[in-house]
Symmetry: C3
């Protein structure tokens, strides 16, 4: 039934944080904690996945995300092969499944999948051989679970626990796979108050059913928050009818020092990157003392190492 | 005289299967057999080519083929560098030989060469330093020897021997470097009856001189075959005058369960991939019990490891 | 003050050869000498930078230069990640500094930076965390220090010393970052006579202030030279008003056997590659006995290994 777990409840694939038990989320965070020192060592490498074949299967290009997985895999001593499918066999008409079956026949151990269509990673996971794990590195507007996990890791590092927090997710929730993963993780981990803040045009209809409170202005939404998570605003949104202009957006929903002052004094500010400075966030905030945006990146490596190790290392 | 062999008869380059002695072909298949278990291990790696520098020199892009060589090289512990030449120094006008000489000066050990022009790998092999080996990963319509070898490996695995087989190669033989390599290997290894089946427009003039029987319809050609090798039909063939349409082609030359029933009941079906389902092959056949298309991919890694190890490992 | 050196005078970044003390240049050349045998070994690898994360940060594509750094890094056992920024996050509008900060947060140890704008590597070096080193792999028309260093290494190998040489740099000095790096290194290392030869349109105004003698014809400029360094002529120069045609350029400034005969009989000929044969250099010279163009490439690997080892290995 649950594609992501084995019969005895261990992590089998990482596709979405929706429905993943709190125990698994916590286990990933704890495992990531144990990898935090690897990045600090003289030799930034552990032999855990030596001789494993990990494929970065990117149907949608993303140097940034690909790099984080490549680094994490190399620090685990795995062999990594990058495949940018748009520009290769796919263009010859080979179906995704034939591609995946071919790589499986080469004794692949893991696929890191990025695709512009929601559900692509699930589709692959449903069809791979039993020895192969799939990690969703972002599928359409659906999910980006490793981003969600590194955000939880960041919150736990700075706030210690989840049960007493108010967390706001601000911006283009409608188009954001990151926001979906964050909201699922936050509610599963027991955050009592999760808020989404954004203009009506950028919030999905019925978002309340995800267990969040909806705000259409920053003044109300940010009040007394412990954590403020800003979302990236894709520039292409500006071209459609959804938004008047970047300036207008910044005025109402950009995080400035003034608006941030409405949150708790020790509130932290997060962003999945890459930032649009002056659109969704002011540089003074992005580079300010409450920003934990760069630590998020550091933690992202440890979290991805943890996920890979749990999936392929047999120590899940 | 023979560019591919050393004075004492060992493999020096792998450029074509045309003229390669049966003993060498058999040695490669035997060596590949010895690598078959590496892909099954917990640590899929042997230290045979540690510290060797292997360059994937792709003048024609092919993620799929590049990946098989990259995986094989990494499982031998070699250092692999991918060079996609079309988009780089070549565009600045540097001649192929200057590129090759430059890489040689960096102490390259092996070039895996893919090029749209027939003879490119030979040209490079004739001009490289004595310590460098060249593997042809496909040159124009000429040869694709590692594909031919993995096909022979597949046949030997499923049929045990070559001397009592009838093998049909079906489709666009005219434009296929794969077919040329297969036919040379099949005749060298002693297959008594090699058939080519295809429309007149897709068979090379005088193909009989390669030692094959020619058929222009599937009903006659497939009868009592032990092995049916389907070729990929490039979509671009449809644009010219060579073929009326994909539907028409499938009707006459696509491998369906009905046509396959004309071959021996235990006949195996092969395809070099990527498949055009519904053009040269029906999905029911491609995914059916007689298909060995995915095992071909698995064997391809072992065969490429064998070739690389024999060329660079000094154990040829 | 000096961005490239630590307080106690060790190499911190390699951005330009301008202002780098002779002792540091000599130390790099000596270290490179110690790496010369690695390329000759059966296992071309030393464990010096094992577990280090080196990023090839190429904002301007260059397969050729990227490959030399990738090979050097792999022979030092480092983990290398290639980032071609033009086609990725940069296009999403992320600023260079955010990219660099992100990679730094992943515990990067070194950035190899290539950029079409002069000063890009300096800009990054001024802004990176203390534990990260930056190597300029070519910035606009400004500098290409590892090329300059490998040229010095080549000269020292063939001529033994610098204090008694006459060296000519020929061609498009105006647009050449290579020439700038060469001239700085030659004067620092004590070459008594450095000449530049080229048409007025391709020499920078005031180039004499770099300590060179200016010649506008080969006959005068090459006379009694010990070293002749030819520069690549970018084809795009021909399109503008700077040059009449490639033929015309070759007639006056192309290095032919006849013109080379004006230099000393044991003069060596160098070129940074890739060559435009028949434009700036005649093939008879390029492939002739006085050419050391391919040894330059070999030495380039050793020099880049030396720079990387000094920067990241802590043995500077």
């Amino acid at each position: 039934m649950n594609l992501q777990l084995t019969a005895d409840g261990r992590l089998r694939h990482l596709l979405t944080l929706d429905g993943l038990p709190r125990a698994i989320l916590t286990q990933i965070l704890d495992t990531a904690e144990s990898f935090m020192d690897v990045g600090e060592r003289e030799v930034k490498k552990v032999p855990l996945l030596r001789g494993k074949s990990i494929f970065n299967l990117f149907f949608e290009p993303s140097t940034r995300t690909r790099t984080t997985f490549e680094i994490a895999a190399k620090r685990l001593s795995a062999d990594v092969v990058n495949l940018n499918i748009a520009t290769s066999s796919q263009t010859k008409g080979e179906a995704i499944l034939d591609t995946v079956d071919n790589l499986a026949a080469m004794h692949a151990d893991m696929f890191i999948v990025r695709h512009s269509q929601s559900g692509a990673a699930h589709f692959i996971a449903r069809n791979v051989a039993p020895h192969i794990s799939v990690v969703n590195a972002g599928d359409g507007r659906h999910a980006h679970p490793t981003q969600g996990l590194l955000d939880m890791f960041t919150i736990r590092r700075y706030k210690g626990a989840f049960h007493n927090l108010t967390v706001a997710v601000v911006g283009d929730v409608l188009h954001s796979r990151v926001a979906r993963s964050q909201i699922h993780a936050l509610t599963t981990l027991g955050v009592p108050e999760v808020r989404v803040i954004g203009p009506k045009t950028l919030l999905p209809a019925g978002v309340e059913q995800m267990g969040v409170q909806v705000f259409h202005n920053m003044e109300d939404g940010l009040r007394d928050c412990d954590v403020v998570i800003m979302l990236r605003l894709q520039n292409e949104r500006m071209k459609g009818a959804l938004l008047p202009s970047a300036q207008e957006y910044f005025k109402f929903f950009g995080l400035t020092p003034g608006k941030l002052a409405l949150a708790k004094p020790d509130a932290i500010v997060m962003h999945p990157g890459p930032m649009n400075r002056g659109v969704e966030i002011d540089s003074e905030v992005a580079d300010g003392p409450q920003s934990v945006i760069l630590p998020q990146v550091t933690y992202g490596i440890a979290v991805r190492m943890a996920v890979m190790a749990m999936l392929a290392g047999g120590n899940g």
